[in-house]
């Protein structure tokens, strides 16, 4: 077995990780034998659920628009508080991690860049980290 195929197997197994991995939800948080692909899988699941939580909140908040200018503008002033801005940065982290990792998952799923997916994951996450820093500075600068 070539070195490449060993790496490929470990990364591609992703969710399953080692053959001893427990299936189902408990298997997600079981760190034993987890390789990079397994961590990427957890990251994708947790950020996905986090974004769903945000989107639920987003939809509820938008209903204030139906109650007219004073209801909406009251919320906007709350949303500009430092605590909300911090959560905006957390949201951007989730969006970048999920979106960029999703590019890798999709390409690999269609059989593209399979052999270099570890490097691709690292590159995408570095790109995400840079974008997150810029976004965080902008969010706290502009408010």
């Amino acid at each position: 077995m070539s070195e490449q195929s060993v790496e490929r197997t470990a990364v591609e197994r992703g969710a399953e990780g080692a053959s001893t991995r427990r299936r189902g939800v408990i298997g997600w948080v079981d760190p034993r034998g987890r390789r990079l692909g397994g961590w990427a899988f957890i990251l994708n699941r947790l950020t996905g659920l986090g974004i769903l939580l945000y989107l639920s909140f987003h939809l509820v908040v938008l209903s204030l628009l139906a109650r007219g200018p004073s209801a909406w503008d009251g919320f906007v002033s709350v949303a500009m508080s430092p605590v909300f801005l911090f959560f905006d940065v957390v949201l951007i982290f989730g969006l970048l991690a999920h979106g960029l990792n999703g590019i890798r998952v999709t390409l690999v799923g269609f059989g593209l860049v399979v052999d270099r997916q570890k490097a691709m994951f690292a590159a995408l996450m570095v790109l995400g980290a840079i974008a997150l820093i810029i976004a965080a500075i902008r969010i706290f600068e502009v408010g």
């Binding site: 939800v25 994708n44 939809l59 209903s63 628009l65 909406w72 503008d73 979106g99 998952v105 799923g109």
Partner: protein
């Protein structure tokens, strides 16, 4: 469209890869990839349109009304709503299917999430209508 026979948890979402030589990508996986790609484009446009076109981004109620008076923006936002709802609920379905429920429960999950998706889009359309008809 029924999904082909596959081990639980591999039917949909992020777990299928070409290393599973005995399996094929399912309709759920392909839909998730396609809607994911669309979300990537639409969320980028959504963020740019909301935060960078107007100086300092959309803020007060009048900003939002003015924003949605542009029909191109309405199309963009409704498309984003539909695609992101689809992607999010399909992802939630994949997560729920990881619990290993019976096929009967799984088909109920699919039904409930489908109804929820339609309700979310209907809510979004109603809200868009309310805002665009505000005087």
């Amino acid at each position: 469209m029924p999904a082909p026979e596959q081990p639980a948890g591999d039917r949909i979402g992020t777990t299928w890869t070409p290393s599973h030589e005995d399996t094929k990508p399912t309709w759920g996986w392909i839909l998730q990839a396609v809607t994911g790609a669309l979300v990537l484009v639409l969320v980028t446009l959504h963020m740019i349109a909301n935060h960078f076109v107007v100086a300092r981004g959309l803020r007060d109620f009048q900003d939002v009304v003015a924003y949605l008076s542009n029909p191109v923006i309405v199309v963009l936002e409704v498309a984003f709503l539909v695609v992101v709802t689809w992607h999010g609920l399909l992802g939630l379905r994949a997560v729920l299917f990881d619990f290993g429920f019976s096929p009967r429960i799984e088909s109920w999950i699919t039904r409930v999430l489908s109804v929820l998706g339609v309700a979310i889009v209907a809510y979004g359309l109603w809200l868009t209508w309310v805002i665009t008809s505000y005087h």
